[in-house]
C-alpha cells in the first residue's frame, strides 16, 4: 500500500513563554508559601537538626554525623533501630505479596464485562479504606481478643477452633497479624487503581486478541497484564512509601512500645519514641530528627529507584 503522506504525527507545544507578571505571582504565591513553610522547610530543618546534639540543659551543639554513628553503633539505639527496620521490611513484604495480589485479583474479577452488582461490590470492599486506621486497629483488637471470643467462635464454627491463639499478644505472630490487619484495610487502594487501569484497556484490544485465538487467561497474561504494569509500579511505590511512614495502626493497637517486646516496632513508632521518649528513656529532638532523616533517606532511595529504574522500563503505552 502507499506510504505517501503518512509520517508519524508530532504534537508541538505552541505556547509562547510569558514573562512573569503580577497575576502569575498572585496565583502561585499562597500555595508556594504555605507548602514551603510547613512542608519543605521542616523537612530540611529536620535534616539540619540531625547534625546537632542537645545536652541536658537544652543547649544545642553541632556534632556532624555523630547522631548517625550513635544510631548505628550505640547498642541502646542500634538494636531497636535494626529491629524496627527489619520489622518494617516484613510489614512491607506482607503488603506487597498479600495486599497487592488480592487487590489485583479483586480488580480482575470486578472488571469482567457484564458482571452484575459490580458497583456494590466495589463500594463495600473499598469501605474499610475510608475509615481511620485507629478505628480499624481497635475493631480488630476487639475481634481477635480472647476475652470477646468472636474470632475463636468463628473458627470453631468452621471446625478449626483449636487454631485460635491470641495472635496479637504473641511475639511470634503479632507483627504478621498487624500487617494483615493493615492489608485488610488498604486492599481497596490497589484494587481501585488496577481496576481503573483495566477499564482503560480498550475493548477492541481484547476483542482483537479473542479473534486472534487467545482465551480469557491468555488475554489477561499477554494483553492486560503488560498494559497494567505501569499501574502495578505505582501501586508498589505507594505501598512502599505508605509502609515506611506507617505509625497510627501500631500506636493504636500496641502503643508506642510496640509490644509484645518490640515485636511490632516499625520505623514510625521508633521515630515517635526517639522524639518523645518513653518509660526507659527521655525523648530527644535531635535523635528524633536523626531517625526521621534516616526514614527520609530510605523513602527517597525507594522513590528514586522507582523513578529511574522501574518507571523508565515500564513506559506507558499510548493506547
Amino acid at each position: 500500500m502507499t506510504a505517501a503522506a503518512d509520517s508519524a504525527p508530532e504534537r508541538i507545544d505552541t505556547r509562547d513563554t510569558t514573562p512573569w507578571s503580577t497575576y502569575i505571582v498572585v496565583f502561585l504565591a499562597p500555595a508556594a508559601i504555605v507548602y514551603t513553610i510547613f512542608s519543605i522547610y521542616p523537612l530540611f530543618d529536620t535534616i539540619r537538626l540531625s547534625l546537632y546534639a542537645q545536652d541536658a540543659n537544652g543547649a544545642v551543639s553541632f556534632v556532624g554525623p555523630g547522631n548517625f554513628v550513635t544510631l548505628l553503633t550505640d547498642p541502646r539505639w542500634s538494636g531497636p533501630f535494626w529491629n524496627a527496620l527489619k520489622n518494617n521490611l516484613v510489614f512491607f513484604a506482607v503488603h506487597m505479596v498479600v495486599q497487592n495480589s488480592i487487590g489485583l485479583a479483586l480488580a480482575v474479577l470486578l472488571s469482567l464485562p457484564a458482571l452484575m452488582g459490580r458497583n456494590i461490590y466495589r463500594t463495600l470492599i473499598f469501605l474499610p479504606t475510608m475509615l481511620s486506621v485507629v478505628i480499624i486497629g481497635f475493631i480488630w483488637q476487639l475481634i481477635l481478643s480472647p476475652l470477646w471470643g468472636v474470632a475463636r467462635g468463628f473458627l470453631a464454627s468452621l471446625g478449626a477452633g483449636s487454631w485460635f491463639a491470641p495472635w496479637l499478644g504473641l511475639e511470634g505472630t503479632a507483627l504478621v497479624t498487624v500487617s494483615l490487619i493493615s492489608v485488610w484495610q488498604f486492599v481497596g487502594i490497589p484494587m481501585m487503581l488496577i481496576y481503573a487501569a483495566l477499564l482503560n484497556i480498550p475493548d477492541d484490544l481484547v476483542d482483537a486478541a479473542t479473534v486472534d485465538g487467545a482465551n480469557q487467561w491468555r488475554v489477561f497474561w499477554h494483553i492486560k497484564l503488560p498494559l497494567i504494569l505501569p499501574t502495578l509500579g505505582v501501586v508498589a511505590i505507594l505501598t512502599f512509601v505508605g509502609n515506611f511512614n506507617a505509625f497510627d495502626l501500631i500506636y493504636a493497637m500496641k502503643g508506642a512500645i510496640a509490644g509484645p517486646n518490640f515485636s511490632t516496632d516499625i520505623l514510625g513508632t521508633f521515630f515517635y519514641r526517639a522524639f518523645f521518649g518513653y518509660q526507659l528513656q527521655a525523648g530527644s529532638k535531635t535523635m528524633g530528627a536523626t531517625v526521621a532523616t534516616v526514614m527520609l533517606g530510605i523513602i527517597l532511595v525507594g522513590v528514586l529507584l522507582y523513578l529511574f529504574g522501574v518507571q523508565r522500563r515500564l513506559q506507558r503505552h499510548a493506547l
Binding site: I24, P30, S39, I40, V134, I143
Partner: protein, 280 residues
C-alpha cells in the same frame, strides 16, 4: 466483548462467590462493632453475632461515652480542621494548578517539580521541626496549627490533579474570554473554576479523608483537652476505658458514623475520581 457473560455457569457462580466472600470479610468486622454497640454487655459476650433485639437492645454504651467524653467537641474540632484545610487546599491548589498549566513562565517546570515533592515525601518526617515551629509561633494546642499543616500536606496532589484537569478544558474557551478583554483573574474565577467542579469533588474526597482520620498530627501538635479531634479523642477514650466494652463499641461506632454517612453520599464521585478517565 464476551467476558463475564461468556463464562460458563459454574465460572460465573465462582466469581460471585469469591466477591461475596470478600465483601463479607471487608464489612463484617465493621458491622459486628456497630451491631454490638447497641447491645447490653451480657448480649455482647453471649451472642456477639446476632442483631440486637428487644431484650438485648441497650444504649448504655452511648450513655457512658457521652457522659465521660466530650464527643460533641471532638466532632466540632474535626469538622473545623477538615473543612478549613479543605477550603485552602482547593482554593490555593486550583490557583497554583492553573498558573502552572496555563502560563509558560521561566521556572515553570522547576516549580512544578518542587510542588510535586510532597506527593512522595511524607510531611510527617518533618514533625520535629514542625513542632518547634509551632511552639515558637505559639500555635501548639490550636486548631490553626493543624489547618496549616494539613493545607501544606494536601496541596501537592491537589495541584497535580486539578492542573491535569484544567489542561483538558478547551483552549478556545480561555482565548475567547481574553479576546473579550476579561482579566486573568476573572477567567480563572468565572470561567475555569466552575468548569472543574467534578475534579474538585474528587480532590475534596482525597484530601478530606486522610485529614479526618489522622492521628499523628493531633497527637503531636494539639493533644490538649480542648483541641482533640475525633480520632485522637476516641484513641484516648478507649485507652482509658478499655474494659468498658459497651463504651468502647459505642465510641467506635460514633467515630465511624460521619465517614460512613459521607461515603454513602459521595461514593459515586469518589469512585469516579479513583477510576478517572475510565468512564465507560
Amino acid at each position: 466483548m464476551i467476558g463475564f457473560a461468556g463464562l460458563p455457569r459454574p465460572g460465573r457462580i465462582a466469581v460471585h462467590a469469591a466477591l461475596v466472600l470478600y465483601t463479607i470479610l471487608a464489612i463484617g468486622p465493621i458491622l459486628l462493632v456497630v451491631m454490638n454497640s447497641f447491645k447490653a454487655r451480657k448480649a455482647i459476650f453471649g451472642s456477639p453475632l446476632s442483631l440486637p433485639d428487644g431484650t438485648s437492645f441497650s444504649l448504655i454504651g452511648y450513655d457512658s461515652v457521652l457522659a465521660k467524653a466530650d464527643f460533641g467537641l471532638y466532632f466540632v474540632n474535626s469538622l473545623v480542621v477538615t473543612v478549613a484545610s479543605l477550603f485552602f487546599v482547593l482554593l490555593f491548589g486550583a490557583m497554583a494548578g492553573w498558573a502552572l498549566t496555563e502560563y509558560r513562565f521561566r521556572g515553570n517546570l522547576v516549580l512544578g517539580l518542587y510542588l510535586a515533592i510532597g506527593i512522595m515525601v511524607p510531611i510527617r518526617l518533618g514533625s520535629v521541626s514542625i513542632l518547634s515551629m509551632m511552639v515558637d509561633l505559639g500555635l501548639v494546642n490550636t486548631l490553626v496549627a493543624l489547618i496549616l499543616v494539613y493545607t501544606a500536606m494536601g496541596l501537592p496532589l491537589a495541584i497535580l490533579i486539578l492542573g491535569e484537569f484544567m489542561q483538558q478544558i478547551p483552549k478556545d474557551l480561555r482565548d475567547a474570554a481574553r479576546c473579550d478583554g476579561v482579566s486573568e483573574y476573572r477567567i480563572f474565577f468565572a470561567v475555569i473554576l466552575p468548569l472543574i467542579r467534578p475534579a474538585v469533588a474528587t480532590v475534596a474526597v482525597f484530601t478530606m479523608v486522610p485529614i479526618w482520620n489522622d492521628l499523628w498530627f493531633p497527637l503531636i501538635l494539639a493533644p490538649g483537652r480542648n483541641t482533640q479531634t475525633v480520632t485522637l479523642g476516641v484513641q484516648q477514650f478507649i485507652g482509658q476505658y478499655v474494659t468498658d466494652w459497651n463504651a468502647v463499641l459505642s465510641s467506635l461506632t460514633l467515630a465511624i458514623a460521619p465517614i460512613l454517612l459521607l461515603y454513602i453520599l459521595f461514593s459515586r464521585s469518589l469512585v469516579r475520581g479513583l477510576t478517572a478517565g475510565a468512564v465507560k
